[in-house]
């Protein structure tokens, strides 16, 4: 499998979320490399990093949806929860000595990418609308410029 390139279909336009999604994709690509090179220890390491980062990202995203009063936040959270359950199931099986890397890789690869490309886009308008400071880059650029002008 080749590397996944970042593209428009993944872009939400919310910088902080795009940054986190890019990192997830970066890990998926690292996982592909480790599998190609047939390095089981490295595969295990990247899987740990990827799952850890994804769970952390979910917490961030859920907080954002709550604050934006996204009306389908509960459904989105249930989707995350289903993913969390699957991950902990894999971790248990891994702990019992089962080889789960291949299945886990498929889950992360398929599920996460679909989730980013499809589900995540549905909360974007709410977040953009309810976080007035969302277009930070422009505003901050303006503030920085003003500060430089007046306070150098």
């Amino acid at each position: 499998m080749s590397h996944i390139e970042w593209s428009d279909k993944f872009t939400t336009g919310i910088n902080v979320i795009d940054g986190q999604h890019k990192r997830i994709i970066h890990y998926i690509n690292q996982l592909t490399d480790a599998q190609k090179l047939n390095e089981p220890a490295r595969v295990g390491e990247v899987l740990d990093d990827l799952t850890d980062y994804t769970l952390s990202h979910f917490a961030f995203e859920e907080s954002l949806m709550d604050e934006a009063r996204y009306d389908a936040a509960e459904i989105h959270k249930q989707t995350h929860n289903a993913f969390r359950d699957k991950i902990s199931n894999y971790q248990q099986r891994y702990g019992n000595g089962e080889l789960v890397e291949k299945e886990l890789f498929e889950l992360l690869n398929m599920w996460l990418l679909d989730h980013i490309a499809e589900d995540d886009n549905s909360y974007v308008p709410f977040v953009k609308k309810n976080f007035p400071s969302i277009n930070l880059d422009e505003k901050q650029g303006w503030i920085k410029q003003k500060i430089k002008e007046f306070f150098k």
Binding site: N15, G19, Q20, D52, L55, L64, L136, Q140, I147
Partner: protein, 152 residues
Amino acid sequence: MAHIQWDEQLNTGIQVIDSQHRRIVEYINSLYDASLTHNRTDVEQVLQNLVDYTLSHFAFEESLMEEAGYPFINGHKRVHELFVKRINNFQQRFKIGDDITDELLAALKSWLINHIKSDDNDYTDTVLTNMNYVNTQQNSGWLSRSLKHFFS
């Protein structure tokens, strides 16, 4: 794992935050050293110091974000909370005699690097802009007051 070497990519550009992050890295490295001695009292002590310092750092960082009006502060706080829960879980397992150090060290290293490079990087512009503004208003006593408050 070997010691974590500080890498320029981990710099956020906010000096006070960078020096706290470096300190956390030192604690993780000390934990690694303690784990090599297999002395439970040493490991327990270093782990406790690491947890205490990290909690102070989180509180400090959250106050910087709040002061600067960083819009995603709640998401960032959730990520901190999730991490604290995970570390508490490790501490509990350690107390009942599990050998958790290798797993914990790997988790700490991966989490910290991810968190600094991705999540922390996102608030940097907002916080720096605010700090510059505060400095130009000659009101920088706030920073030293906050430092005293969280790290006394």
